[in-house]
Amino acid sequence: MRSRRILAILAVLAMVVAACNGADPTTTTSEPPPPTTTQPPGPTTTGMMDELVYDVGFDPDTGTIKLGALAALTGPIPGIGASLLNGHRVYWESVNADGGVAGMYPVEVVVRDNAYNPETNVVVYNEIKDEVLAFSSAIGTPTTASIYEDAAGENILVAAGSLASQWALTDNVLLNLGANTYFAQFANAPYWAMNVADPAIITDESVVGIIYQGDDYGQDCKNGYDFGQANTGFNHQYEATYAATDTEFSAQIGGAQAAGVSVLFICALPTALATMLGTAAALEYSPTVFGSSPSYNPVLPSALGGGDEAAGLAVFASFPYYGLGAGPEFEDDTPGMAELRADLEAHRDAIGVTDEMINAFYYFGYTQAQTFHILLEAAVANGDISRAGLLAAINLVQDVDLGYGGAAGGYGATPLERIPTNEDNIGVPVSVTENVFGLMDITGFFEAPYMADWDPAG
C-alpha cells in the first residue's frame, strides 16, 4: 500500500520537476558548501537519478540519511512529546521497512530531549547539527525560536513541532502538511459558531472572551481570534493571559464570569485546560468553551473525573466544550488513516508505543514525518539532497493530498504559500473506547470565506 502511494506522490513530483526545469533551485540559499557527487549504492533499477548531490548527513557507503529530532520527553509536556516522537518514529520505521527513501536510502533519526526548554534546545541542537541533514521534528514554539536563525545560517531545514503561523515567515522552518495553524483554528471558529452552527452558538447577545497562554503559542491564537472578531464582529469583552507555570486559574475564570462571558476561547495546554474547566465547574460557571488543539488530550476527561472517564466527559458536556483543530479521527475510513493504523500495528512493539500515546499528537508526529518524507523524495528526484538542495526542494512540494480527508496542500515561495492549509474542523470530547483520538468531528473540514483575506506577512 505504502509503495503504491509513494509512487503516486513521485508521479506528481516528476511532473513538478519537469515543470521547474530551467529555474535554478539553489538561488534562495547563500554560499552552499561545495557539494559532492556520488554513485548511489544498491540497485538503481528504479530508473532514478544516477548521481546524487549531497553534503552533510548522508553516508554514501550505506546510503543512510541521518535526520535529527528534538523531542520533549521530560519537562512540562512529556505526554505530548512522547506521543509526537513515537508517531514520528513509527513512520520512519515503516519507510525503512520498505527500503527507505526512494526505496534505497534508509533513514536514521537521531533523537535528543530538549525538555521544552529553549536553552537546552540550543545545546542539544548544536550537539547533533553537524551530523544530520536536517531536523525532521523540533517540538515547541519557543524552543524552535531559539535555533531557527542559526539553522537558517547553515541551510538546515527544521520541521516545526508547532502550529504557530509565524513559521510561514521563515525560509527554513516547515509547517506540517497534515495540520493547520493556531491562527486558523481561532480565526475560523467564530465563523462556524455564528453562521453554520444551528442554532448559532455566538449570537448578538453573546459575550465573548479569550484566555491564552502568555507566549508565542498563545499569541498566535490571540491573533487568530482578533482576525475572526474583525471579520465577524462578535462582542469581544474579556481577555486574560496566564503563565505556562500557573496552576491556579480562579482569577482568570472568575474574571470571565464577572464579565458575563458566555462564549470562552481557551488557548492552553492540557493540564491548564483541565484545571480551568474544573475551576469553572466549581464556580457554577458554564460558558461554551472553544479550545485550541494542544489544549485537549484524550486522557483529560479521565483526569477531570478523578479517574472516572464518564464523569469527566459529563463535565465537558456541561459547558459544552468544542475542540478546535480536531483533525481526522483514528477510525476514519480514509487511505491515509488506514495506512497510519496499519503502520501502528506493524511497528508499535518495535518502537514501544503504549495506548496512551495514540492521540492527535501521535498523528501530528506521524504526518510530520510523512511531510518530510515527501520532501526528501522530491529532493532525491531532483538529484540533490545537500542541505541547500533540500531547502530548494520545498517549492517542489505542491498539491499533495496526504489522504486524510482534508484539502491538498503544498508550499510556495511567499509566506502565504508556506501555510499548508487554512481549513479547520471542530470536534466534541467522546470516550477513547469509541474514538481513540478523543474528539468526534462534528463539522467536517471547512474554511471561513474571510480566511482568503489573511496574509501572515501583512
Binding site: T74, S146, D215, Q219
Partner: protein, 379 residues
C-alpha cells in the same frame, strides 16, 4: 627553592604571578586556550566541543562576578540570573541593528561592535545591581539570598512584558546577531560564528579573571572580606560597610551583565523565560554551585567551578551517548537515557564531593599541593 616557598617582600607576596614556574604554566595555558578552536576542528563533533567551551567561558565570567559578591563580600545572591538576563537583552539591543520582523514587530538596535554590547550590558546590569543594594544593607544571610530570589521572578515578569517588547521581544524573545571580528589577521583563525563567539568569550573571561584577581588583592577586596567576616567590627575600624556592599553588588552585576551579553549571542534568540522562573532559578543555583564547588572566596575556584558545573554533566552525557555503558538506553528513550543518567550522576557527585571536601576544588588542590610540597614529610 627557598625563593618559591618564602616570600621575602610584601611586593612579592602581593604579586599576581609570584614566580617563573607559574609564568610558564600560565603561558602554556593561554596558548592552549587560543589553540583550542583549531584543535577541535579535527575531532568527531567539533560543534559540541565548541559549545561546551563557550558555555564554560561565559559561566566562568559570571561566576567570577558572583564570587566577588558572595565569596568575598559574603552576600549570597540567588538573583544572579536576573543580571545575566539584563545583559543579554541590553547587549543584544546594542550589538544588533534595529530591525522589523516579517510580522511587523519593531525592535530597537544600535548595530555597534560586540564589545560595546558587552560593556553596555554590564553597565546597565551594574546600575540595577546598585539599586538592589539597599536590601542587602538591611538583610543578612539566608534572608538576603531568598529576597534576591524575588529578582528571578521579577526578571521573568519584566523580560516578558509587552511594554518592553522593542528590547526583549516580550514572550517571543529577540534576535541577537552573532559576534564578528573585522580583523584581516584573524580571517583563518575565526572561520565561523561559533569560533568568533569563543574568542570573544575567552577575551572577556581573561579580563574578568584579571579584574577579579586585582579586586581581591586590593583595598576594595579587603573591605569586602572584612564586611563578610565581621561587618560591625569592620565598620568600627573604618570600613564603609554600606559602600562595600553596594560596590560588591555593582561589580558582580557588571560581570554578570557582560557575560549575559555573550550568553544572549550564544542563545541567538534569548527569551525572558530563559532568565526567570524555575529555569532562571536553576541557573542562579548553578552559579552558586560553581563558586561553592570551586572553593568559595577564591578567584581560581570560580573558574574551576564553572568548568566542573558546565562541562561535567555534558561530558557524562556525551560519554554515555557513545554507548560505552550497556545499561544506558539510547537518547530519547525517556528512561535511563544519557540525559537522566548524567543528571543523577552529577547530583550524586555534588553530594559526595562536598561531603569529602566541603572547601571545594580549591581545598582539594590546596591539600594536594601542600602534600607534594612537603613530600615525603606529608604532615
Amino acid at each position: 627553592m627557598a625563593e618559591r616557598l618564602l616570600r621575602t617582600t610584601y611586593k612579592r607576596d602581593m604579586a599576581l604571578i609570584p614566580n617563573r614556574v607559574q609564568w610558564f604554566w600560565l603561558i602554556v595555558l593561554l596558548a592552549w586556550l587560543f589553540y583550542y578552536p583549531i584543535f577541535i576542528r579535527g575531532l568527531p563533533s567539533p560543534g559540541f566541543w565548541l559549545t561546551i567551551a563557550i558555555l564554560v567561558l561565559i559561566a566562568a565570567t559570571g561566576a567570577l562576578g558572583l564570587n566577588l559578591l558572595s565569596g568575598f563580600a559574603g552576600q549570597i545572591s540567588l538573583g544572579h540570573v536576573f543580571f545575566l538576563g539584563v545583559g543579554a537583552f541590553v547587549g543584544g539591543t546594542v550589538n544588533t541593528e534595529a530591525f522589523t520582523t516579517l510580522s511587523g514587530v519593531d525592535f530597537w538596535g544600535l548595530g555597534m561592535p560586540w564589545w560595546v554590547g558587552v560593556l553596555a550590558g554590564g553597565a546597565v546590569a551594574a546600575a540595577l545591581g546598585v539599586i538592589v543594594g539597599p536590601a542587602a544593607v538591611r538583610l543578612r544571610g539566608l534572608y538576603l539570598s531568598l529576597v534576591t530570589l524575588a529578582l528571578v521572578f521579577l526578571g521573568e515578569w519584566l523580560f516578558t512584558a509587552e511594554a518592553l517588547a522593542p528590547v526583549t521581544g516580550a514572550v517571543r524573545g529577540r534576535r541577537v546577531d552573532p559576534v564578528s571580528f573585522d580583523v584581516p589577521v584573524l580571517r583563518d583563525y575565526v572561520t565561523k560564528d561559533g569560533e568568533a563567539l569563543y574568542l570573544a568569550a575567552l577575551i572577556l573571561a581573561l579580563v574578568a579573571f584579571l579584574a577579579g584577581k586585582n579586586i581581591a588583592r586590593s583595598r576594595v577586596g579587603r573591605a569586602f572580606q572584612a564586611t563578610r567576616d565581621r561587618d560591625i567590627a569592620a565598620e568600627v575600624i573604618g570600613v564603609n560597610v554600606t559602600w562595600a556592599k553596594l560596590t560588591a553588588f555593582g561589580v558582580s552585576s557588571f560581570m554578570a551583565g557582560a557575560a549575559g551579553a555573550l550568553l544572549g549571542v550564544f542563545l541567538g534568540n534569548p527569551l525572558g523565560s530563559n532568565f526567570g522562573g524555575a529555569a532562571g532559578l536553576l541557573i542562579s543555583v548553578e552559579y552558586i554551585a560553581m563558586i561553592v564547588i570551586g572553593g568559595i572566596g577564591t578567584v581560581v575556584g570560580a573558574v574551576f567551578g564553572a568548568l566542573f558545573v558546565v562541562a561535567l554533566p555534558e561530558l557524562i552525557k556525551f560519554a554515555s551517548e557513545q554507548g560505552w555503558l550497556p545499561f544506558i538506553a539510547e537518547s530519547g528513550a525517556g528512561t535511563l537515557d544519557p540525559a537522566a543518567f548524567s543528571a543523577i550522576l552529577f547530583g550524586l557527585f555534588i553530594v559526595v564531593f562536598l561531603i569529602l571536601e566541603p572547601l571545594g576544588l580549591f581545598g582539594l588542590w590546596f591539600r594536594l599541593r601542600n602534600y607534594w610540597k612537603g613530600w615525603p614529610f606529608s604532615y
